[in-house]
């Protein structure tokens, strides 16, 4: 079993001082990885990770995740290789095929078909692998939900990320996969890995450390109305309850799904801290 790792995906853009403070806070709270998203209206990923490295000592730096369709593979590889050098090898590269159609349209980038977007991801990964031949490549995180993506991830990635979302997730609405669907996807990854050891990352969509678990789950239910409160209470991507209970839940999730690396969104940065504290070194 792999040791736990915790990441936070930051996305709120702001001043240098705000960004530096947030990155330091993530490190101080015990996170292992600080991640940046790749969306319009959010932070510029590569400059943001460079500054994150300057502001911190230890924490690893992750693109969580780059939209392959937004980048020329050769130019992106140059940028990431330099970032890795400048940060003393602290970079972990996360890439997906892109999923927010409105952003493609706003940027004038062809949305194309799922196959076309997947092809762009393959092009980026191929170029990264080529460029790093003969020298250590930063760890690669790939993932998603579909068979094709997860099969590709199993063949190429050091870390495989499950989004924990359900098909048909509308923009701005959280469509979470239920427990059975999530377990099925984790099982699929295990199968396509065929015995190869890889880290499994799970995106955590909701965190409330509270003595009133019921009220927290009701809040989650308002955000994810298609899943019943009981279902949400059992779901690995929803962490609601006391710090002790959530700690137990994560230990169980690692046991059952094999996921040992959990990433929360910026809003939940401070919420998860007491749990990280309890799981240190485990």
């Amino acid at each position: 079993m792999r040791p736990f790792r915790f990441g936070v995906a930051l996305y709120v853009p702001g001043s240098r001082a705000e960004w530096v403070a947030k990155c330091r806070q993530a490190e101080d709270l015990g996170y292992d990885v600080v991640g940046v998203v790749d969306h319009l209206g959010r932070v510029a990923p590569v400059p943001a990770l460079l500054l994150a490295a300057e502001a911190t000592e230890r924490i690893r730096l992750n693109t969580y995740v780059l939209n392959a369709s937004f980048h020329n593979p050769v130019v992106l590889t140059r940028d990431l290789a330099a970032l890795d050098e400048f940060t003393g090898g602290r970079v972990e590269i996360g890439i997906d095929a892109g999923y927010v159609r409105a952003e493609f349209e706003a940027a004038g980038i062809d949305w194309g078909t799922p196959g076309r977007r997947f092809g762009r991801l393959v092009d980026v990964v191929t170029e990264l692998e080529r460029a790093f031949t003969g020298r250590p490549r930063p760890p690669l995180l790939l993932g998603g939900r579909g068979d094709r993506m997860l099969t590709f991830a199993a063949a190429h990635a050091d870390t495989i990320a499950l989004t924990g979302t359900a098909p048909g997730a509308a923009e701005g609405r959280l469509a979470l996969a239920g427990s059975a669907a999530l377990a099925e996807r984790a099982g699929f990854v295990k199968r396509v890995l065929g015995g190869r050891d890889a880290e499994l990352n799970l995106m955590v969509h909701f965190v409330r450390i509270t003595d009133d678990r019921r009220a927290a789950l009701e809040t989650a239910h308002r955000l994810v109305p298609h899943l019943a409160i009981e279902e949400l209470g059992a779901l690995a991507t929803v962490l609601a309850g006391s710090a002790e209970a959530v700690t137990e839940q994560l230990l169980r999730t690692r046991e059952t799904l094999g996921a040992s690396y959990f990433t929360v969104l910026e809003d939940d940065l401070t919420r998860l801290a007491p749990v990280i504290e309890r799981l240190r070194g485990r």
Binding site: P13, G14, S15, R16, W19, L40, G41, R42, V43, A44, V46, P47, A48, L49, L50, L51, E54, F70, N72, P73, V74, V75, R78, D79, A81, A82, L83, E85, F86, T87, G88, A106, A107, G108, I109
Partner: protein, 291 residues
């Protein structure tokens, strides 16, 4: 500070953090006003390099010199520009060019667009940047309402017309007209004067700073010999007498070069020079002489 002039150093960004940090500090310590990062494949990328430069210096402006615009989607570029502007607390100066190194396009798996297409893309890029800067919803927000100062560099009529219309700083290449995608050769003083005159006619009275990339620096007590040497080095494209007149070759003692700079300001309106990294130490006494 050197009063009426500004001086920048155009840097090739190496792989190692330590080497880059050391060079950036040296630029500031030597008294330069601007630290510029070039944009080529095989070098580190400008934006993170400038963020790092900003972290290890306190005063110098941070400039892309110049971005190869066709490598960038304009909308995504706007995010990188304003993000870097925020992270460097308003010290960014954005330099853009239409792109000229054919081999790099091939290496990036992109067709080498025609000169017309490259300038078209640059025009779209400028329009998109201005639109994003002006949009109150755009995030990261630019530090100043109109965005960071814009430098446009090139030599052709269309790009210089664009520059006259949009740029705060107009970058003259000081190179002669050559076949597209070919090697660069220095222009004569008359050629540069003609380009400057063209821009002035297009500016129609609007103020803009005139920048020049200085290709040759030789600080020496024997100016005549150094000019002869350079004439040979540049394979006689320009004679020693012609080289004596061009602002792209700053040759002589610090006092002589300072004198040339004043003369060039009169003739060409140039007040902002960018020297190549390998010349930064050699050129530094000129900054002293101008103080």
């Amino acid at each position: 500070m050197t009063g009426e002039f500004r001086f920048g150093v155009n840097m090739v960004v190496p792989d190692s953090r330590a080497a880059w940090v050391e060079k950036c500090r040296k630029v500031e310590d030597l008294g330069y006003d601007v630290l510029s990062a070039a944009d080529h494949l095989g070098m580190a990328p400008p934006f993170p390099a400038l963020v790092l430069a900003g972290e290890v210096t306190s005063r110098v402006k941070l400039n892309t010199f110049v971005l190869n615009a066709p490598f960038y989607n304009p909308t995504l570029l706007a995010r990188d520009v304003t993000g870097t502007d925020q992270f460097t607390e308003g010290r960014l100066e954005l330099g853009l060019g239409a792109g000229y190194v054919k081999e790099e396009f091939e290496a990036a798996g992109m067709p080498f667009p025609s000169a017309r297409e490259r300038v078209d893309h640059l025009e779209r890029t400028i329009a998109e940047l201005k639109r994003r800067y002006a949009d109150p919803e755009h995030k990261p927000a630019p530090v100043r309402p109109g965005g960071p100062p814009l430098l446009l560099a090139g030599r052709g009529d269309r790009i210089l017309t664009l520059a006259a219309e949009h740029a705060d700083i107009i970058g003259f290449t000081g190179t002669a007209k050559t076949p597209d995608g070919g090697a660069l050769v220095p222009a004569s003083a008359e050629d540069i004067e003609e380009r400057v005159g063209f821009v002035r006619s297009k500016l129609g009275g609007r103020g803009a700073e005139f920048n020049l990339l200085c290709h040759f620096v030789h600080i020496t007590d024997d100016r005549a010999a150094a000019l002869e040497e350079l004439a040979k080095l540049t394979k006689g494209v320009l004679s020693a007498d012609q080289l004596a007149e061009v602002p792209t070759a700053l040759i002589g003692s610090p006092a002589e070069v300072a004198e040339q700079l004043h003369a060039h300001r009169e003739r060409f309106g140039l007040t902002y020079y960018t020297v190549l990294e390998q010349n930064m130490e050699q050129f530094a006494p000129v900054l002293e002489a101008l103080r």
